[in-house]
């Protein structure tokens, strides 16, 4: 059964068929969301938000692009909105995330000093990714987390492949600059 057929059935009132789409695409939506928010709970909430938005606007889906492309677009927009809403994260939340990352790091026989060092490194990388511009970040997440081709990213971001390449290149340079002090540690 193709996506188009399922969407047609959902629009015609068979709402239970939407579960088929959710089951099929929940992993990619969740993976993209985690690339933006770096947190399991937030990513799950975003996944839910994305599917609810998709369900409500399913009738507006023209079918010009792949359903996955359309869903990726909703995911990116929802994730960016979520980040803008929570831009002013308080100090306690940032500190809390850092402590949580300390406990969530797999031990692999590392001593506390090494664990602390790894958590600090993750924290720095996360912050460096978060400081990328919206377009650079979107291109970076879709490329690294979802392993999409530049053509697919261009279709999602509604820009040219050249623009995507430029965003990725700039993101790479920015990250290299921000993480230069970690190299060689």
């Amino acid at each position: 059964m193709s996506d188009q057929q399922v969407i047609f059935e959902i629009i015609n009132g068979n709402h239970s068929k939407f579960e088929w789409l959710v089951t099929k695409y929940q992993t990619i939506v969740f993976r993209t969301a985690i690339g933006f928010v770096h947190n399991k709970e937030d990513a799950e909430d975003l996944t839910q938000e994305v599917f609810i938005s998709a369900f409500r606007s399913l009738s507006t889906f023209q079918g010009d692009s792949e359903f996955s492309t359309w869903l990726y677009r909703i995911t990116v927009n929802s994730s960016l909105n979520h980040l803008n809403r929570n831009k002013k994260r308080d100090l306690f939340q940032v500190a809390g995330d850092f402590v949580l990352s300390l406990f969530n790091t797999a031990s692999e026989d590392k001593n506390p000093h090494q664990l602390m060092e790894h958590s600090e490194r993750d924290f720095t990388i996360r912050n460096a990714i978060d400081e990328l511009s919206e377009k650079q970040r979107t291109a970076f997440v879709l490329s690294k987390y979802d392993e999409l081709s530049q053509r697919e990213i261009a279709a999602i971001m509604e820009c040219s492949e050249g623009a995507v390449e430029q965003h990725l290149q700039r993101a790479k340079i920015k990250l290299q600059k921000k993480l230069a002090h970690l190299v060689g540690k």
Partner: protein, 96 residues
Amino acid sequence: METDELITEFVNREKAITHNPYLATRIMQNLTAPQRKTVGVLRYAAIAACVSTLVVLGMTIENSLSAAPREYTALNINDSEMENFAIYNSNYNEKE
């Protein structure tokens, strides 16, 4: 370690995080329960009604208490007319 390797390692670790196996069920449950928003609005309305009732009740009680005439009772006791309790306690006049 190169920057690219660091980033790839970090990304791979985040990619390894899996979602709740009941996520799809949770989403479908949310889709089939549209009345939830109404309940939320009703809850706020109920809280507002309770607070308003409490305020009105408080004001009514306060008004009724301040309007009612108060009857004070005061004991006017003249100490000089009080019996001396020492009379009952002393055994000075008693014969042994």
